[in-house]
Subunit: 425 residues, 2 copies
Amino acid sequence: MIKFLTDTTLRVDDFSAAESALSEIKSDAMAGWLNVPVDADELARIKQAAIKINSDSGFLICVGIGGSYLGHKAIIDALGNSGKTKVVYAGNNLSSAALDKLFTEIGTSDFSINVISKSGTTLEPAIAFRLLKAGLVAKYGEQGAKERIYVTTDAEKGVLHDEAVKNGYQRFVVPNNIGGRYSVLTAVGLLPMAVAGINIEELIDGAHTASVGVNMEYAATMSSATVDTAAAIVREASRYAIIRQKLYREQGKETEVLATFEPRLETFSEWWKQLFGESEGKNNQGIFPASVIYTTDLHSLGQYMQQGRRNIFETVVKITTPSQRSIMIPQTQDNADGLNYLAGKSLDYINEKALEATVRAHRLGGIPVLEIEIADLTARSIGELIYFFELSCALSAKISGVNPFDQPGVETYKQNMFQLLGRPS
Amino acid sequence: MIKFLTDTTLRVDDFSAAESALSEIKSDAMAGWLNVPVDADELARIKQAAIKINSDSGFLICVGIGGSYLGHKAIIDALGNSGKTKVVYAGNNLSSAALDKLFTEIGTSDFSINVISKSGTTLEPAIAFRLLKAGLVAKYGEQGAKERIYVTTDAEKGVLHDEAVKNGYQRFVVPNNIGGRYSVLTAVGLLPMAVAGINIEELIDGAHTASVGVNMEYAATMSSATVDTAAAIVREASRYAIIRQKLYREQGKETEVLATFEPRLETFSEWWKQLFGESEGKNNQGIFPASVIYTTDLHSLGQYMQQGRRNIFETVVKITTPSQRSIMIPQTQDNADGLNYLAGKSLDYINEKALEATVRAHRLGGIPVLEIEIADLTARSIGELIYFFELSCALSAKISGVNPFDQPGVETYKQNMFQLLGRPS
């Protein structure tokens, strides 16, 4: 299970803020993710759709932006794609070159589309969908195209919902009580992940087990060890949330840098930045979320982390067993590079020592370092980690006095843009 | 040429700080990049090596970390690879999974290695080189392997230099008077970029022309228009440097977010973060460098940028003509998505309006926005932009009172790590 390590001690009354935050969150209309709800019928349809897509498509193009793509891309990048279909992305920018590159990659291969948008009116995915749909129709005809379009949207309304109903596209649901950045364990993420061969049941189960700590009514069916683990996760998530807010408010640590030592977690860090940045960055307040991939970035941002402005704290994600069989360093006869002292050691071992060395160096440099440790990179562990971060984030935002579930600032540029583009009102 | 736009006006005496910073930089032993020096013989050897690699290798594995890989990866990602050889990267992390993935990608294809390290003792590339060299020998034999190893290192000393001399590897030079993060226009970057089909003469020429402004002795051979342009670049770079420091010192803007609207510039932003972060993050001071790719990140970090803590300023890189032929939005009969008002418009046009809308929205939200405009994404424009940022960065660091060319903090974690790994002393 997840461990959270810090050298900061907390007082009992620090926890009371987290407890009242949790009870407020529980009664929030947008806290649907808290129970990790999965509809069994929809899950079965998702798995069936994934089998069909794996059988008839070299590519699945996921059309979505922000919370509609970051979570599943994060998990697919972390765990790898073992499905027969490559999952690719469109509609998350307005770059002509990026879309051109995607067309070139797909070439003459068979493909399907999963368009993911609650309203259907978000500009980037709407444009990409219009262009890609035209490509599908040109390749497979009107009817053939309809059978290759999978729509994840509102259950009842919206332009995308209406179009899907009219054309008979297969539909999946973006729940009304779960916002985009908390939605990866709904159909939003589950269909692309199933296509990529991710064990989505284990993923859900990892999160679901963790959720027992806040949903004690689930606990009746679980072993007492499981219940203990889940209670521990709530405690660890609360500690992380409380310490973040203390570092921010009492010590002026205005930027949090999420550090991983595994390039596979690069997109996961982007998901984390959206989760925390969009939940907390309000009312001219909030911790600025940044990320680094070490050891890579020790040779770029490492200098700043060691000796730059001390308004930063660092949260390191450590994976106890990052791979089942790590590459070993071989012995050489001439030892020209002087590395024979590492012969017989694994890369993962050396990476672990680099992590320990970095934590020690940055603490020496005056950076508070928090550590989050997970057992391995499996669907179950990632499910647990997703839940841990979602819960910590909601608690942290709530403790800081803002709504963890809205994003009122995102509208400003959209309104400006639609005005500049002359959208009819 | 590059334009720098801001609504902040500067006083004459603001410029005097930049002028004295420039004269100090000119006499610094590590300011070799200021003249964009290129040895004609080495350039010819680089081009010849690139032709050989293109003829005998499906992959070129560039082994290097930090300044030894970020610059050329940034430019190859920005301009695309039109060479016959795919350029891939190793030795910039300690992840076993990442190296495994690379081995899988290369499969049974032919490959060569360009190992790039001034000393040869940096752990990550040294380990990767040991592993990859063993792979080369297994595939091509001792002699065949030697003909596929290209070493970019110190001209006279170091373990990598010595090994290269002993084995007869083809060698290229990391100049003594240019640090890693300023080295992309030397052999460090030029060989991989030539292999990727980048027009390295145009790239160098873009930077070289820009450098005329600080090296008026070059001006004699140039047209007066060129000289004017170059002088303007120095002025624009000075303004950017001065304004950064004013925002930081006088207005408490502690984080700079580099914003681009083009996914092709993602690695370029990483290069920029190393350049500024490693040059300025010293003495417990320095602007924290972060980056976003819009419109992608408007749907993740956009909320924070609009309404979060106001200790940020934003620098937007705008490309006047991002592609020669942009994708057009088609008309549809049913107009189900309501986008027919955009029919006949190009994606690049819509992206440009998104940029304008974002700049306007963020200024309204209380974020100072600086704009840097380049004409297009060509080798020449990128060369000019590289020079612009290197010069601005050195000026800015110098104005803030730190050495733009050292990185003393990078040693701390290395010493810890070597101790944990038990390296013989």
